[in-house]
């Protein structure tokens, strides 16, 4: 093969690669648009009036996730299934956002941490790489961390809206999440940087809880918490 022939072959390969990426970009753009719509629906829970409407907003968000499922099903067809990581960078951002939105919806509905399997189900994708287009564990974790920030904001706005018990529940939840994240041995990568932000969320929520408890505003649905808060303050 001559030099010219070799470069010609390579050019063909690169050109085909570019075409695939172009196709992927188009679908990702639509996905990002969908994600923004879901975010708009869910953002409104921060408003004082929004708190009462949480169930209906979650229902609406879940409807919008149907469209997302269709888009992701389309995205899967744009490239060979075994080359997921070759193109992963194109959808990494939007998939993290969608993981966050799934986690947020599930938290608003049940105040629990969504599992990776549940997120995958909401999005209509796999958990295990070998089975097809999947949710990478790091993207799931990034989504959870984005939600943590959202919850710290929600804690603040709950108080403003007059809900004094929600911040305590958020505090418990975030602290447990923090314990979980501490188990991970993270490398110096974007996930690590995002995790570093979690401590600020924890701190912010703690301050909200503190503000409530020293003013006696925190009525505790679970037992013994305010005693514990006092214990913490004096100890």
């Amino acid at each position: 093969m001559s030099v010219t022939e070799m470069f010609s072959y390579i050019q063909g390969f690169l050109s085909a690669d570019q075409d695939v990426r172009e196709d992927i970009r188009k679908v990702v753009q639509i996905l990002e648009q969908n994600a923004r719509e879901i975010l708009t629906v869910l953002q409104s829970v921060h408003q004082p009036s929004g708190f009462k409407e949480i169930p209906s907003k979650c229902a609406r968000a879940r409807e919008l996730f149907c469209t997302v499922r269709t888009q992701l099903a389309d995205l899967k067809t744009k490239f060979p299934v075994e080359q997921y990581y070759r193109f992963h960078e194109h959808w990494r951002f939007v998939l993290q956002r969608l993981a966050f939105l799934s986690a947020f919806v599930v938290y608003l509905e049940s105040e629990t941490l969504v599992t990776r399997e549940e997120v995958a189900q909401i999005l209509g994708i796999e958990v295990v790489r070998e089975k097809g287009f999947h949710l990478d564990v790091e993207d799931y974790l990034a989504g959870v961390l984005i939600m943590a920030s959202e919850l710290s904001r929600l804690a603040v706005n709950s108080v403003t809206a007059g809900d004094y018990s929600r911040p305590l529940r958020i505090s418990n939840f975030i602290n447990e999440l923090d314990s979980g994240f501490r188990l991970l041995n993270l490398k110096n990568d974007p996930l690590r940087k995002r995790y570093d932000g979690l401590k600020y969320d924890v701190k912010k929520i703690e301050e909200v809880v503190y503000d409530l408890s020293i003013r006696g505003l925190a009525k505790e649905p679970e037992s013994g918490v305010d005693k514990l808060e006092l214990g913490r303050i004096s100890g």
Binding site: V3, Y9, I10, Q11, V137, N172, L183, E222, S223, R232
Partner: protein
């Protein structure tokens, strides 16, 4: 940590609650100790332990690949230094054979990479070994050029990256019938890594050109000039549709080509006037970037 299931609190909090009736009423998701070891039975902790294992496994594999890749890089670079000596010794064949042996060892290392990647998505780990592979491409294409005065193809490179794996882990395989459980493992250099390796090759060819002139060889520069021009034209054709590193290397490639073309010019115009052993000095102004060990100032 032997903790009673009802009592999920750490020692500090318990002090204030010794007589508290509150303990048994505690829910599983009530206030947790900040310490990670506080509540091993929490579902969140349990699931994060799984994540920990997954991430550790992935990072370990990545690190193993980085280590192998470093070895590949070092041995390939040494092979390249070895090959530069063909212009200055009488018996080139010895050097070429030694280079063969070295590159066989490098191929074995690449076989180890292939083993680590078995069943994986190679692109998930590509950054770990891309540098080593590019260096290997540079070395093997350099050897190929010296022998055949042509550019090795991607196919030819990949054809030599086929490994036999048997029960006894015999990498070379054998010509006899394969024992049960024998496997064929392949490693595919991507077109992009090939391209980047060839871009680096041009730098070595430029060095070879200048040093061959210093040794009185006035044919090689003209051959090289022709060859480099073809490669340069190939890269121009690809332009910026390739990986972005190609654009950076294209700049260096143009410089290399320029040096070689100047060398040919000087030889053509002034070659006959200058004693062979002084030819090297003719290019001294343009060769300040070369390694001292090439023998050219």
């Amino acid at each position: 940590m032997a903790q009673k299931p009802r009592d999920e609190r750490g020692p500090d909090e318990c002090l204030s609650l010794k007589t508290s009736e509150g303990c048994p009423r505690k829910n599983a998701d009530a206030v947790q100790d900040r310490d990670a070891s506080a509540n091993p039975s929490s579902p969140i902790i349990a699931v994060f332990k799984v994540f920990q294992q997954e991430l550790d496994t992935k990072h370990d594999k990545y690190e193993r690949l980085v280590k192998i890749s470093r070895d590949v890089t070092i041995e390939s670079k040494r092979t390249i230094f070895l090959l530069h000596r063909v212009t200055s010794v009488p018996n080139a064949e010895d050097i070429l054979n030694e280079a063969d042996v070295k590159l066989d060892a490098v191929r074995q290392k690449i076989g180890l990479i292939a083993e680590e990647l078995r069943g994986e998505d190679i692109y998930q780990f590509h950054r770990a070994f891309t540098a080593g592979i590019q260096e290997y491409v540079e070395a093997v294409s350099f050897l190929h050029y010296i022998r055949h005065r042509s550019l090795i193809s991607l196919e030819e490179i990949n054809a030599r990256l086929v490994f036999m794996r048997t029960e006894k882990v015999d990498p070379k395989g054998s010509d006899e019938a394969l024992p049960l459980g024998a496997q064929v493992l392949t490693f595919h250099v991507t077109p992009s890594d090939y391209l980047l390796g060839v871009a680096d090759l041009t730098g070595e060819l430029m060095r070879m050109c200048i040093s061959s002139v210093g040794n009185g060889d006035i044919d090689t520069p003209f051959q090289l000039s022709q060859f480099l021009r073809q490669i340069h034209d190939g890269f121009s054709y690809i332009g910026n549709t390739g990986p972005y590193e190609v654009s950076k290397k294209l700049h260096t490639l143009r410089q290399s080509l320029g040096k070689v073309e100047d060398a040919c010019y000087a030889l053509r115009v002034r070659g006959s006037e200058i004693p062979k052993h002084m030819l090297a000095d003719v290019f001294s102004s343009r060769t300040t970037l070369l390694d001292p060990e090439e023998g050219v100032v």
